[in-house]
């Protein structure tokens, strides 16, 4: 469990103050995969760095399970340097650019946090072998990072981050520098680790597709503030803030409709262009054929898409509804009643 309360961090730059984290409070349950999404400069990177105090918050407190509450006051913490290093050792972290030591082998990179901790050479070797098995890189033990692909480097970084058996793993844009295949495999690894080790993962990203494929909960950040927070499915099904909608559109095939609207000829005259969202309560029923039968309207489906989020389906359809004005309205009313979310995008 991680409890963040009233966290605040301002950078004083030469010509301006940047309020990177602005009174953020969050509660993250153990074993969750918690996503934080935002554009660059939104403060998500600072927020995650405050969790292991790589950045010292100006004020606020962070409670980490098994470690008690740490409070910041005017930029200093109420724990000693020694305690702080202990805390950092109990939180793993992975980065966008992996940050491996280029002059060390995979083995030595993973062994880095284990050395000088009182473990014997033999114990370190055993632990590193375990970790390399876990990330499926046992055959690369004595290879240098320059000989690895991006995805493999990130696996080494994950093994290194897990070496002290942390309960929490922070991921700072860990897939942003990877190709789609490597991204997929790293996300799958994180999901597996979350299941097998029960480790809490906090990942920050600017890609909604990452949130969709792995997170249970998500916080959306803008200008240092958390503007929206909740279960990932609920946020996708029912986004409230403009920025959240923008992020969701960025990961949805349905956003292509804006390009189609520009090319007006494809939209039939006398019709309403609507976006229908089918959540878990409505995704199973044959609503479309029902309205065209009962209200005498023609429904022309232009784009359709089903997302699977946390094993639940979320459907989206962009369609034009054609017919007598009052019939179209009655059809839309019926859709509302059937728990389908209707947004009118365009009147032709």
């Amino acid at each position: 469990m991680i409890n963040i309360e009233h966290l605040d961090k301002t950078y004083h730059l030469k010509n301006a103050d940047v309020h990177a984290v602005d009174d953020v409070s969050l509660h993250i349950e153990s074993g969750q995969i918690y996503g934080v999404i935002g554009y660059s400069g939104a403060g998500k990177s600072t927020l995650v760095r405050c969790l292991n105090f790589l950045e010292i918050p100006d004020s606020g407190s962070i409670e980490i399970e098994g470690f008690g509450k740490v409070s910041a006051n005017q930029g200093s913490l109420d724990i000693s340097q020694k305690k702080l290093r202990e805390l950092r050792r109990s939180i793993g972290m992975i980065f966008q650019h992996f940050n491996l030591l280029d002059r060390s082998t995979v083995f030595d990179n993973v062994a880095y946090p284990l050395k000088y901790t009182g473990l014997s050479k033999k114990e370190i070797e055993t632990r590193v072998d375990e970790l390399l098995d876990l990330v499926d890189l046992a055959d690369k033990k004595y290879v240098y990072p320059s000989q690895l692909s991006g995805g493999q480097k990130q696996r080494v970084a994950i093994a290194r981050a897990l070496s002290n058996n942390p309960k929490v793993l922070l991921s700072d844009e860990a897939t942003s520098a990877l190709d789609p295949d490597a991204t997929e495999s790293i996300l799958k690894l994180l999901r597996d680790l979350n299941k097998r080790l029960g480790i809490t993962i906090i990942l920050i990203t600017h890609e909604m597709s990452v949130i969709k494929s792995i997170a249970n909960r998500v916080a959306v950040m803008e200008n240092g503030k958390v503007v929206e927070e909740g279960d990932v499915y609920d946020i996708f099904a029912n986004p409230k803030e403009e920025i959240t909608k923008k992020f969701i559109n960025s990961s949805s095939a349905l956003s292509n409709i804006t390009k189609l609207i520009e090319n007006k000829t494809i939209i039939p005259t006398d019709s309403k262009l609507v976006k229908l969202t089918f959540t878990r309560d409505s995704v199973g029923s044959a609503t479309i054929s029902k309205i065209s039968r009962e209200y005498n309207v023609d429904v022309n489906i232009m784009l359709a898409n089903v997302d699977v989020i946390n094993a639940d389906a979320l459907g989206g359809i962009i369609a034009s509804i054609e017919g007598a004005k009052e019939n179209v309205q009655r059809a839309i009313d019926f859709l509302h009643e059937s728990n389908v979310k209707v947004e009118v995008i365009h009147h032709a």
Partner: protein, 232 residues
């Protein structure tokens, strides 16, 4: 004495013992001043990186003092520095001439240069690696030795090579004001007595020494890039 010396450098052959003494003096100045420079310049360079505002242990005062020392002594041309430092050299080494008297100004001349070179080499270490080490709970000393020095080794070898070569140059300048060594041999016997063959041999010798240092530096630097030198 090798036979070709008598054939090609007859005047060197005449002063063979003095030549050997000069060679030894250069060798001593180079290694003693070099070792001290390595330690002090290395420590200064590391301190500059560590204490800068966004370093791992920011300290404005130490950083400022090191900056001033480095800049002041780098601004003064070495030959002026030699004369300027004579009183200080006397009080530290007891004499201002000979190898003993040369070490102090050589260190003052080489340290600022080496400090800057080390600073630049360490500044090239990716800040991400430092951040990762901090996130793993490494201490300041841990980060210096296990990340900064470890990762920058090929660059450190490179800059040490450059400093070593420039130190050879400084030892010959020191020769001009009574330090002994190949520099004073070339001036006293080559220039003053008009024995061109003496100057020629000194040039060839310096060329060989410098080339060997450069070759060694290049080889080591290359051998340590992206890998350990002796991997188990």
């Amino acid at each position: 004495m090798p036979k070709f010396i008598v054939d090609f450098f007859p005047n060197v052959a005449n002063y063979w013992d003095i030549f050997l003494t000069a060679l030894t003096a250069t060798y001593q100045m180079f290694f003693i001043a070099g070792l001290i420079t390595l330690l002090i310049g290395g420590a200064f360079g590391i301190s500059l990186i560590v204490t800068k505002t966004d370093g791992i242990k920011p300290n404005r005062i130490i950083h400022f003092i090191l900056e001033v020392i480095t800049n002041v002594f780098r601004a003064v041309p070495f030959i002026i520095l030699l004369i300027f430092l004579i009183p200080l050299t006397r009080s530290i080494a007891g004499t201002s001439i000979g190898v003993k008297g040369a070490v102090v100004p050589l260190v003052f001349g080489a340290v600022p240069f080496y400090t800057r070179q080390v600073e630049t080499a360490l500044a090239d270490v990716n800040p991400g690696k430092i951040e990762a080490a901090r996130s793993m709970g490494s201490s300041t000393l841990g980060i210096i030795f296990r990340v900064y020095l470890h990762e920058a080794l090929p660059d450190l070898i490179r800059v040490t090579t450059i400093t070593a070569i420039s130190l050879i140059g400084l030892t010959t300048s020191a020769g001009a004001v009574g330090a002994g060594g190949i520099g004073s041999f070339a001036i006293n016997y080559g220039q003053n007595l008009h024995y061109q063959d003496v100057v020629n041999l000194c040039v060839i010798l310096l060329l060989i020494i410098v080339s060997l240092i450069q070759l060694l530096g290049n080889t080591l630097s290359k051998a340590t890039t992206n890998k350990e030198l002796f991997h188990k």
